[in-house]
Amino acid sequence: MVPQLFYVALAVILFAIGALGVLTSRNAIKILMCIEIMLNAANITLVSFSVYNNNPTGQVIALFVITLAAAEAGIGLAIFMLLWRNRGTINVYEIADMRW
């Protein structure tokens, strides 16, 4: 059986990629996609631990996370669409109204 560390390592790598993407991207859609990558990294961790510990709870939570991610993507994309319509940009650095 493949050691769990490999899965965890994969998850770490994916999470790091996602996080880097979130930090560096300006395009909101890109950020959303990177967040999806991070969520999936977390899902991999959950499922792997679930399998190795013979506890189905982790898989159930992973299912919830997937559902959440879908909803989040739906809401997020709707927001971006409205932003595009009203401001003509989805560059998050330009949309900085909620500041001091």
């Binding site: 050691p3 996080a19 930090l23 300006r26 998050v92 650095y93 900085a96 909620m98 500041r99 001091w100």
Partner: protein, 669 residues
């Protein structure tokens, strides 16, 4: 059913009448008079039943717990013996008759409801007073009686003289009340009880000096209430009230309370020979002095007032001389004839609208019922044989004669005055001189009580004699048996009529009445010569002022009070005001200097400081809020990394566990 068991209820009906009339008397016919009369009838019937049962050997003492303070229980009790039964019947009977009389007398008064309410309260208080079995309860009713007399004397309070007479009655009796209260407190602190019987049982063990002091204090209360010298000054002024009130005060309630107190405390009084002597001499002197004043007065009511003082003196003399029965017999008889005379005087005043007897005369034709009843009352007052006043007065004089010859002499002089002023009073009002052609007889409601009282005044003495002196046996049953040897009972009846004192007494009265008859009826000596032959002007003025005792009191009050007031004024201006001003100034200083400084620097400083702090910190911290998504994300990720490092070092077992699995996997090949 035995009524005596329910004797505690006797004061209740008039009390009820008081409450009813006070709040809704205006709505009833005659201002609630019938409510008062009805309730008084109930009390009277119950008193009568109680009297018969007591006469048949009934006796009742009962106590209920009243309230308790700090573990001490105070009792509410009732004592019905022959003494209280006698007073009950007198009080309820006289107040009933006076209320009936008031139907006519107070008919035109707009404030009748107040009158009937207060009269009911008055008789209720007095009934409660005579029922009490302990000093505390008695004192409560004692003060209530005082309050009612204040209210009723000042019934026409819009008259300044009535208002001041009421105040005077209240204040003068208060002097006595204070002494009485002091006596009660001493008795209570010594014996721990207010109960009469218990006090009598325990008082004998005390030193003579103690007994003397306490009994003197208690006698002080009796002096105030019963208007004995020198606290008699309030009673003549009390004539300012309605005449019916005077009747009640004089023949049943207020002034009889003092005599009752002495009678009730008789076993205690008899322990000290000195106090008894003092009681007797006070009574005798009061009787003589007041008699002399009555002889000189010209006011129809004030003559009677001084006569009451004089006869209360007789009662005190009787009690003090050791003749318990005679003193109380006189109390009973005096109630008859004095109530009668007062009510008759009220009728006369009503008819003539004047109180000066010099302006009266010849009323016999105009007011025959009043005149005839008055004649009976006058003869009783004068102590003529065989009217009631004779028997009791004679009994008192006999007791005084046996006891102390000086007392007898003073008493005889007082009796002489009694006969003189009584005759003068009657002859000037009803005598031959025709002065008032417009007078007419009082209504039936006012003459009926006169007739009843006249029957009493006429018969009570003779009947008692004829029946073998049942009054004496009756009244003596209220004294403890051990007192038998002290009480010198000499009630006219068990000595022959043909002995010195009765004959002397008869001679005295006859002579006096004859003299009065000659002067005022036959007018053989013109009154003007009488006036000129006597240094009357000055003397009369002195006597009319009641020996100037009032003036002395006023001067004394003025002198002492004036100085006292000046001292108080000085204290007020310099010390009290100084303290007040000082406090004020200190307050101002504190307010303006200290508090201001604390407020500006401390309180405001703290408030402003906190505001400034949050303002400044907010100004700096808001810079963090860049609005740039990247910077927020950076912060989150940096935070997570820091958290992970923290977990690694702070001892999560997850990481070592994962390494351990790798080792296992390697070993498996």
């Amino acid at each position: 059913m035995t009524t005596i068991e329910y004797a505690w209820f006797i004061p209740a009906p008039p009390l009820l009448a008081f409450l009813v009339n006070l709040f809704s008397g205006k709505r009833f016919r005659e201002g609630g008079a019938w409510v008062s009369i009805g309730t008084s009838t109930v009390s009277f019937l119950m008193s009568a039943a109680t009297l018969f049962e007591v006469a048949g050997g009934g006796h009742l003492e009962k106590s209920w717990s009243w309230f308790s303070i700090a573990g001490t229980r105070y009792e509410l009790g009732i004592l019905i013996d022959s003494l209280s039964a006698l007073l009950l019947i007198i009080v309820s009977g006289v107040s009933l008759l006076v209320l009936i009389y008031s139907l006519g007398y107070m008919h035109d008064d707009p404030n009748k409801y107040r009158y009937y309410a207060e009269m009911s309260l008055f008789s209720s208080s007095m009934l409660g007073l005579v029922c009490a079995n302990n000093l505390l309860q008695m004192f409560v009713f004692w003060e209530l009686v005082g309050l009612c007399s204040y209210l009723l004397i000042g019934f026409w309070y819009h008259k300044p003289s009535a208002a001041s007479a009421a105040k005077k009655a209240f204040l003068v009796t208060r002097v006595g009340d204070t002494l009485l209260l002091a006596g009660i407190i001493i008795l209570y602190t010594t014996f721990g009880t207010f109960n009469f019987t218990q006090i009598f049982e325990r008082l004998g063990t005390q030193s003579p000096g103690f007994i003397k002091v306490v009994m003197l204090l208690i006698f002080g209360g009796a002096v105030g209430k019963s208007a004995q010298f020198p606290l008699h000054v309030w009673l003549p002024d009390a004539m300012e009230g309605p005449t019916s009130v005077s009747t009640l005060i004089h023949s049943a309630t207020m002034v009889k309370a003092g005599v009752y107190l002495v009678a009730r405390m008789y076993p205690a009084f008899s322990l000290s020979h000195d106090v008894m002597t003092l009681v007797a001499y006070t009574g005798a002197l009061t009787a003589a002095m007041a008699g002399l004043v009555a002889l000189n007065h010209t006011d129809i009511k004030k003559i009677l007032a001084y006569s009451t003082i004089s006869h209360l003196g007789f009662m005190m003399l009787g009690l003090g001389a050791g003749s318990y029965g005679a003193g109380l017999f006189h109390l009973l008889n005096h109630s008859f004839f004095k109530a009668l005379l007062f009510m008759a005087a009220g009728g006369v005043i009503h008819a003539l609208h004047t109180q000066d007897i010099r302006l009266m005369g010849g009323l016999t034709r105009k007011m025959p019922v009043t005149a005839i009843t008055c004649l009976i009352g006058t003869l009783a007052l004068a102590g003529m044989f065989p009217f009631s006043g004779f028997w009791s007065k004679d009994a008192i004089l006999s007791a005084a004669f046996e006891h102390d010859k000086i007392l007898f002499a003073i008493g005889a002089v007082a009796a002489l005055f009694s006969a003189l002023y009584a005759g003068r009073w009657f002859l000037l009002i009803f005598g031959p001189t025709q002065k008032e052609p417009h007078a007419k007889e009082s209504p039936f409601s006012m003459t009926l009580p006169l007739i009843i009282m006249a029957i009493g005044a006429l018969l009570s003495g003779v009947l008692n004699r004829w029946l073998g002196n049942p009054f004496r046996t009756f009244i003596l049953s209220s004294l403890p048996h051990s007192m038998g040897e002290y009480v010198r009972e000499s009630m006219a009846t068990h000595e022959p009529l043909m002995s010195f004192v009765p004959l002397f007494s008869i001679a005295l009265s006859t002579l006096a009445l004859l003299l009065v008859f000659i002067i005022y009826y036959m007018q053989m000596i013109p009154r003007s010569t009488l006036k000129e032959s006597f240094p009357t002007n000055y003397l009369q003025r002195w006597l009319n002022r009641g020996y100037g005792i009032d003036i002395f009191y006023y001067a004394f009050a003025d002198w002492v009070g004036g100085r006292f007031i000046r001292v108080l004024d000085w204290i007020d201006v310099n010390i009290v005001d100084g303290i007040v001003n000082g406090v004020g100034k200190m307050g101002v200083f504190l307010a303006f200097r200290v508090v201001d400084a604390i407020d500006v620097n401390g309180v405001d400083g703290a408030v402003n400081g906190i505001a400034d702090l949050s303002f400044a910190s907010g100004e700096r911290l808001r810079r963090l809020q860049t609005g740039v998504v990247g910077s927020y994300a950076t912060a989150i990720i940096v935070g997570i990394i820091l958290l992970m490092i923290l977990i690694l070092y702070m001892g999560s077992h997850a990481v070592p566990h994962l390494y351990a699995q790798i080792v296992v996997w390697k070993n498996m090949g």
